[in-house]
C-alpha cells in the first residue's frame, strides 16, 4: 500500500522483494540444472535480413553453424518466457484491481476471447494488404470491447447487488458463447500484415519484445494508478471496508465499476497482443486463463478478502508461474505435471504469505515493550508521530 515519506527497501515495506528473490532463485536453478542446448547460429546480413551462418568443417564441407548455449539462460528462451508471461501478467494486473476491491472476475478468459474475436472480425476483411487505419481500428475495437465487457460486469455487480463470483461466472459463459456464435467456432485470421509486423517486430535482432514492453508499461501504469492516484487509494479503501468507505463519501459503486472495467481493459490489451502475435482469433482463445490470472495475482500477494495487492506483485506472480511452467520443460519434466506443480505453488505462496504476516507480528511484539514504555512515560504528551521512514 502507499507508504508515506521516502521509500524504504526493508522487507516489511517492500513485500515484492520476496517474489524477486524467488524469481532469482528459480532462474539460478534453471540455469544450473537446465543443461545446455545447441542452437543454430544466425547473423544479420548487410541488407537487414537474418541468415544462417555457415562454417567449413574439418573435411572442408560447408555446414550450418551451431552454438552451444545454456538451455534457460539465453536471450531467446528468456524472451520466449516473457512473451508467454505477458498475456497473463497484463490480465493479472487488471485482476488485482478487482481483487483489491474484494471482488473476483472469472470472466477474464472469456473477455479475452470475445475481444479477440471482435478484433479479428474487424481486421480480417481488410486482408493482409490492410493499412495503418485498419490496424488502428482493430486495436481500438479489441481494447474497446474488452473494456465494455468489464464495465458490463461491474454495472451488473453494483446494480443488481449480486456477488461478483456469480455475475462473472455467468458472463464467463455468456461472453464466450457470444464469441462462439459470432464465429461459428471458426478461427479467424488474415489480418493486415502491418499489424502482425508491429506486434512481432524485432526490436533486438531475432527478439520480438513488443509483448514484453507492453507488459512492463501495463505494470508500471497499474502500479502508479494504485499507489499514487487518489482513486487508487479509494480502491484499497473499498476493499478494506466498504461500509466505512461509504461513510467517507466514496462512491463505492463507481469504484467497483472502474475496477471491473480495468480488468476488462487489461484482457483487451492482452488479446491485441495475441491477435498480432498468432495472427488469428477464435472463441476458444484464453480457455481457463481466468484461473492462471487469479493464481498470478494471488501469488503476487493480493488477498481475496480485499484491501491488499499490488500491480508489481501481480506481474511478478505471473512471471513466477510462467517460469515454473516453462522450467519443467527445460528440466525435461513432462509438461503434464505443470498443472500439479502450479496448483501447489499457489497454495504454498498463500501459506508463505501467512507465515510472513506471523513473523511481522512477532517482530512487532519484540518492539512492544519499548513502545509501551514510551507511551507510559509521556502519558501527558503524545509520542512523536513522525513516520518511521523519515
Amino acid at each position: 500500500m502507499s507508504s508515506p515519506g521516502k521509500f524504504s527497501f526493508s522487507f516489511s515495506k517492500f513485500p515484492e522483494g520476496g517474489l524477486i528473490l524467488v524469481i532469482i532463485a528459480l532462474g539460478l536453478l534453471l540455469a544450473l540444472f537446465g543443461g545446455s542446448v545447441q542452437l543454430p547460429k544466425f547473423e544479420t546480413t548487410p541488407d537487414g535480413k537474418r541468415a544462417r551462418v555457415f562454417e567449413t568443417n574439418a573435411s572442408g564441407q560447408k555446414v550450418p553453424a551451431f552454438e552451444t548455449v545454456n538451455k534457460f539462460f539465453n536471450a531467446r528462451t528468456i524472451v520466449q518466457i516473457a512473451k508467454d508471461t505477458s498475456f497473463f501478467a497484463i490480465m493479472a494486473v487488471g485482476m488485482t484491481f478487482v481483487i483489491i476491491t474484494g471482488g473476483i472476475d472469472l470472466s477474464v478468459g472469456a473477455i479475452y476471447a470475445l475481444a479477440s474475436v471482435s478484433g479479428a472480425l474487424v481486421l480480417s476483411p481488410y486482408g493482409p494488404s490492410g493499412g495503418a487505419v485498419a490496424t488502428a481500428l482493430g486495436i481500438l475495437v479489441t481494447i474497446g470491447v474488452g473494456t465494455l465487457l468489464g464495465c458490463l460486469n461491474g454495472a451488473m455487480i453494483t446494480g443488481f447487488n449480486v456477488h461478483p463470483f456469480i455475475i462473472t461466472l455467468g458472463t464467463m459463459a455468456i461472453y464466450r458463447g457470444i464469441a462462439f456464435v459470432q464465429t461459428n467456432g471458426q478461427s479467424i485470421g488474415g489480418f493486415p500484415e502491418g499489424f502482425r509486423q508491429f506486434v512481432r517486430s524485432e526490436i533486438l535482432p531475432g527478439l520480438s519484445l513488443v509483448p514484453l514492453i507492453v507488459m512492463i508499461i501495463v505494470t508500471v501504469v497499474g502500479g502508479i494508478f494504485l499507489s499514487q492516484l487518489s482513486i487508487g487509494r479509494k480502491i484499497y479503501a473499498v476493499g478494506g471496508n466498504e461500509i466505512a468507505s461509504r461513510y467517507s463519501g466514496i462512491r463505492v459503486g463507481r469504484v467497483k465499476l472502474l475496477a471491473y472495467a480495468i480488468s476488462g481493459l487489461a484482457a483487451g490489451i492482452a488479446s491485441v497482443l495475441s491477435l498480432g502475435y498468432y495472427g488469428a482469433g477464435s472463441s476458444g482463445d484464453g480457455q481457463g486463463y481466468e484461473l492462471n490470472v487469479i493464481a498470478a495475482a494471488v501469488v503476487g500477494g493480493a488477498s481475496l478478502v480485499g484491501g491488499k495487492g499490488t500491480a508489481l506483485g501481480a506481474f511478478l506472480g505471473a512471471v513466477i508461474l510462467q517460469m515454473i511452467s516453462n522450467g519443467l520443460v527445460i528440466l525435461n519434466i513432462p509438461q503434464n505435471y505443470s498443472q500439479i506443480v502450479i496448483g501447489a505453488v499457489v497454495i504454498a505462496a498463500v501459506l508463505l504469505d501467512q507465515f510472513n504476516a506471523l513473523l511481522a507480528k512477532r517482530r512487532l511484539l519484540a518492539k512492544a515493550s519499548s513502545i509501551k514504555k514510551e507511551v507510559v512515560r509521556s502519558s501527558d504528551t503524545p509520542v512523536s508521530l513522525k513516520p518511521k521512514t523519515t
Binding site: S3, S230, Y247, R251
Partner: protein, 491 residues
Amino acid sequence: MAFLSVEHISKSFPGVRALDDVSVEFEKASVHALMGENGAGKSTLGKIIAGVYTPDQGIIKIEGQEIKPTDPRIAQGLGIALVHQELAFCPNMTVAENLLLGGFPTKAGFMDWGRLREKARALLHEIGAEIDVDTPLAQLTTGQEQMVQIAGAVGVNARIIIFDEPTSSLSTNESEHLFELMARLKARGVAMLYVSHRMDEIFRVCDTITVLRDGKHVATEPIAQTNRDRLIRQMVGREVLMKRPKHLDLEPGEEILRVENLSSTGKFENVSFNVCRGEIVGMGGLVGAGRTEVATAIFGLDPRATGAVFIKGQKLPLGNVNEAMRRRIALLPEDRKRAGLVLGMNILDNVSLAHIDHFSHLGFIDTSRELTEVEKLTKRLRVKAPSLDTITAGLSGGNQQKVALAKWMVRDCDLLIVDEPTRGVDVGAKAEIYELLDEVACQGLAILMISSELPELLNLARRVVVLREGFVTGQLPHEKFSQEAVLELMA
C-alpha cells in the same frame, strides 16, 4: 484462601504488553469488577482465566490447585464461563441449535430434536430466561440474544463467570434483567468477574473492585472503601474533571441545521429540530429509539428518508452522502470498526480517506502535503501511536476514535454529527474528546451529539432532544437538565 487466584500473570501482544505481573484473588458468591482504561488489560485478564489466551508467565489457581486452562473447552470443564461482547452465533439457526452447537444430541447419528429442545430449555431455565427455543436467533433482540449466550456459557455447573462488557449493547431494561440474573447467580455461590466501563453499574452490582492501568495491578478494594473520583484517579493516574464546557457561555450563532418532519418508514417519524453555530445539541434516547438512523439520514445514507433538511437555510437533497459532504456535514459513526475506519489501513490513509481528492492534484496524491496536514491533526488530537504507518486495527479504542474524528477535521465543516463519540473509549481519551468538541463548538461549529451516557449528554450539551421509538418526545434546555427529566422523556 481465595476461591480463584491469579498469580504474577504476564501477557504480551504485538505492540503492547497487555498484562505485567498481575496478581488478584477472587471470592465465591461475589461480583468482582475489573476496571481500567481501554488497553489496561482487563479483558485480557478475563480471557486468560477463561482459556482464550494463554499467559506468557504466571499461574491460575482454583481453591489452591493450579489449573491450566489452555483452551476455552478446558476452562468450561473446570466450570469457568466467559460472556463476551462479540456475540458468536449462527443467526439462521434456532435458539436450541445455537445453545448446543458444540454437541448436538444424536440418536444413531441422527439429530435428536426432542432432546435438543429439552436440553436447551433446561439451560435457559437455569438462568431464568423465557425464550422460545425454536425461534431463529436472528429474530431475537440483542438482549435476548445475550441471554441465550449467557445460558450457553453458564451451562449447568459454572462456578466462575466472566462478564466482558455485557451491557454495552443492551437497553436499560435488558441490563436490569442481567443484574437480576447476576444476583441469583451470586446467591448460588458463583464467583463473577465483571468488566465494564460504566461506573454506575459497577457501583450497583459489584462487591470488590480491581483497577488495572497499562497492564499493571493498581488496587483491589471493597466497594465500600472507594468512590467514583478515587477510581478515576486510580485508572488514569491523574484527575479528570468534568469541567463546565466553555461553549455554554457563548451565544449561539445562526441556524446551521434545521430538520423538518424527517421520516423513514420503520425507523423514525416526523423528527424536527435545529442546531445553531457554536452549539452542541444532544440527542438522547434508548437503544433502538432511532437516533443513529436520524443521523445517517441527515448525512445522506438513508435513500428512503422523506421530509426536509435545511443547511444554512438551503434545502439539502436527501440520500446523497457526497452532497451532504459538499454542504459541509460530517458524521462520526456509532460503530467505528464497522463504519468509521478501514481497520487494515494505517492512520495516515484513514485520516485522509474522506478528503483524499482534496490532497490530490490531477488525480495524483500530494503525499508530502497529506503527511504534513495529517500529522498536524493527529498531534492536535493527541493520537498515541508509534507512527502514522501504524495499522489502525492495533490501536486502542480511544486512539481509533481520535483517528475517526481526525478524518472529519481535515477540512472545515459546518455541522459535525457525533454518534456515541466516547463508546468503548477510556477515561483519559474521553476527557480529551469532550475538550475537543467544546473547543470546535467555541470556534463556531454546530454539533449534534448522540449519546447513551446521560452524564456526558447533560454536561456537554446546550439542549437535549429526546427520541422514543422514532418520535421526538421532548426537548430540554440546559437549565432544566436532570437525569430524571431526560429519563422520563426516554422511557
